[in-house]
């Protein structure tokens, strides 16, 4: 423990680390992916977490639950989402063929709905009448508000004041669907603070309330549940690419904030060792400026929001302020399974700056007629680099995790042409 760079688990010796090939079955009973994960939460929440774990395990083998979930994914969300070969972007990148997994075409415009429907169905199964959520960009808030409207549950969404400013459209839409949006004025007034407030709410409300976490973060079983619900992305993409080109892709790229779309698309490819997996973190104004949100590439293992994972902290364990142009990536932590994949060398994580993401946003709009979310633009920017590196004849899938409508006001402001 004296070596701050050590990735050793707080309580386990290296021999306790589960072997790499077990990752598809992970986490273990303590919620650990190797050294990472676990439950670092107040005792008050432990019973709710145990109850959720039990309800989730039951739901996995309940054919009625699974068939209902798939029904809503298909007829309500519009799954499967297309896997689209973006020829003009491929020629721009000048190398591998770039395919886009079009999560932006889902109902509500992002991958977040895959998990929100699943978790709100779990809430209903557990007899909870109220759902709470945190949101950064607002996509998870909108998805949760949507699922709550669909299933008739009360919904409260915590959102940082800075994000409310950046994402007015999503705030308006959540309220229209009947959700209460609670502005969070503490700390950096972003996703991290919204997560704190949602956890505080749950401390006093878990008897009747389910906390629908929006990413593969937080205490066990959340990282597992969110990964499983989002894995529909990767399962589809794997089948679709096999059907189209009769082989697996050479690389899969996704953006990583907390890491839910990345976990979802990577997970079904984990055992396909010939497929390179690459995560794009928010490099903000550049790693050297210190104003970024690159937890995996710049952080160290530590505890935040109930989980042991890479985190941006100072030497005293205080969470650092982070920056990203994208509200959804503006988070100092990351899902524990990503930390595990990083240390195992299974996934390579890179950082992409605000400027690179904005450029990818513009190129994708002009060359394909597709407006990507700023989060997804990080994946696209990295995908262009990887496609160039891989070269012609190779194939790459980028996860286009969400659409960019929500970002129009912020991009216009950054261009100096505010829409008012």
């Amino acid at each position: 423990m004296s070596n701050p760079a050590s990735t050793g688990t707080p309580n386990a010796s290296p021999s306790d680390v589960i072997p790499f090939n077990a990752t598809r079955q992970g986490p273990d009973d303590l919620g650990r992916f190797g050294a990472f994960g676990g439950r670092f939460v107040p005792e008050t929440l432990m019973d709710a977490l145990n109850q959720l774990t039990a309800a989730y395990e039951e739901s996995k083998t309940d054919p009625a639950f699974q068939s209902e979930l798939h029904y809503y994914w298909k007829d309500y969300v519009g799954r499967p989402s297309p896997l689209y070969r973006a020829d003009r972007l491929s020629s721009f990148a000048g190398g591998a063929d770039v395919y886009l997994k079009r999560e932006d075409l889902n109902h509500t415009g992002a991958h977040k709905i895959n998990n929100a429907i699943g978790q709100v169905m779990l809430a209903r199964r557990m007899g909870k009448t109220r759902v709470i959520a945190e949101t950064g960009a607002g996509q998870h808030g909108v998805a949760t508000a949507t699922a709550c409207a669909l299933f008739g549950l009360t919904c409260t969404v915590y959102m940082g004041e800075e994000d409310i400013r950046r994402q007015k459209l999503n705030v308006f839409n959540m309220r229209t669907m009947g959700a209460t949006v609670v502005p969070v004025a503490s700390g950096s007034r972003t996703l991290r603070d919204a997560t704190n407030e949602a956890m505080r709410d749950w401390m006093g409300s878990s008897r009747e309330t389910h906390y629908t976490i929006g990413s593969v973060v937080g205490p066990h079983p959340f990282p597992m549940i969110v990964r499983d619900f989002q894995s529909v992305i990767g399962r589809e993409a794997r089948e679709q690419i096999l059907e189209k080109i009769d082989r697996l892709p050479d690389a899969v790229v996704a953006c990583v904030g907390g890491g839910s779309n990345a976990a979802g698309i990577f997970y079904p490819f984990i055992e396909d060792v010939e497929v390179e997996l690459i995560g794009a973190e928010a490099g903000g104004r550049g790693i050297k400026t210190g104003e970024h949100a690159a937890s995996l590439t710049q952080g160290r293992p530590g505890v935040l929001h109930g989980s042991f994972s890479y985190v941006l902290q100072d030497d005293d364990g205080q969470t650092q302020d982070v920056h990203s142009i994208s509200a959804g990536l503006d988070y100092p932590g990351v899902g524990p399974e990503h930390s595990y994949w990083k240390d195992q060398g299974r996934v390579r994580y890179e950082s992409v700056t605000d400027a690179e993401a904005l450029a990818a946003y513009e190129e994708t709009a002009r060359r394909e007629g597709v407006l990507p979310a700023l989060e997804s633009s990080h994946a696209l920017a990295q995908a262009f680099k990887e496609a160039r590196r891989l070269g012609p004849g190779k194939v790459l899938i980028a996860c286009l995790s969400g659409r960019g409508d929500k970002d129009a006001y912020e991009v216009a402001r950054l261009r100096g042409e505010p829409m008012g």
Partner: protein
């Protein structure tokens, strides 16, 4: 003997309950924290809980979270907190030196500093135990063992949402005393405490020989009087810390006196009623 064990042995013999105020280290500054600890011991505090400021305290309500934030804005580091406590132990009055001090600290900080280094520094600083509100028993075995080796108590929390079989297990793994959380929720004064609180604590007493102290939500002499019959100690946090927030507008001496008066009232509420 660890000061916590000594305290409860003595109080048991005297038939008294412990008054355990909570203070944030470094709010408004560490010099004031030291003055306050002296003052509170003089006013009848039996143990002091020292809150180590943390950037993301999910178990804390707005009062303590804001207090932590103020302290961090002063640039308070864990090393400064330990230094202040070391000085108190070396230079404080005999009463202050005999009073148990317990740190309330996030595991995020302990992990970053390093478990062994944190415990060594805590022991050297004269702390007697620690409460780690975000470390459930499943994750606490190694810390427990290492704390015990250094003569430090690891105080675990039991809450209204803890199932009874789990409560028994937590009680078995606790050292020093059990921190019984009065309400399901975050820290902060409540007007009403749950009606089943006394019964729950009475049941817990049939399961353990450890002292049971009640915290969260307590903020008035009346509540102290209500709970004294079932508890071995009573913890008061937000009701004190709220007053530290006024430091911007008022002199330190005024705030120290006000908090001292308040703790004096709470201590009076624990004294046997005349003629009783």
């Amino acid at each position: 003997m660890n000061r916590i064990d000594a305290l409860f042995t003595r109080l048991k013999a005297e038939g008294r309950r412990a008054l355990m105020p909570f203070l944030t280290a470094g709010d408004p500054d560490l010099a004031t924290t030291a003055v306050l600890i002296n003052e509170l011991v003089g006013r009848g505090a039996d143990m002091i809980e020292v809150g180590v400021p943390y950037s993301d305290p999910i178990a804390d309500g707005p009062v303590i979270a804001a207090s932590y934030h103020r302290a961090l804005q002063q640039g308070i580091k864990i090393a400064h907190v330990f230094q202040t406590l070391r000085t108190l132990r070396a230079e404080g009055s005999e009463a202050v030196r005999a009073t148990p001090l317990v740190s309330m600290v996030s595991y995020s900080i302990i992990h970053r500093v390093g478990v062994e280094r944190y415990l060594n520094d805590a022991a050297t600083a004269g702390l007697d135990g620690l409460i780690v509100p975000d470390l459930p028993v499943e994750e606490s075995e190694a810390l427990q063992k290492k704390a015990t080796q250094r003569g430090l108590k690891l105080i675990q929390l039991i809450t209204p949402t803890t199932p009874r079989d789990r409560a028994v297990e937590i009680a078995r793994l606790t050292t020093g005393f059990i921190y019984y959380v009065s309400v399901a929720g975050i820290t902060g004064v409540r007007k009403e405490l749950p009606p089943e609180l006394k019964d729950n604590v009475a049941w817990l007493r049939t399961q353990t020989d450890l002292p049971i102290c009640i915290g969260f939500g307590i903020g008035s002499p009346d509540q102290i009087r209500q709970l004294a019959p079932v508890a071995d100690g009573l913890i008061v946090g937000s009701a004190l810390v709220r007053r530290l927030g006024d430091a911007v507008n008022r002199s330190r001496a005024e705030i120290v006196k006000e908090i001292g008066d308040f703790v004096g009232e709470l201590a009076d509420a624990l004294k046997p009623e005349p003629g009783a």
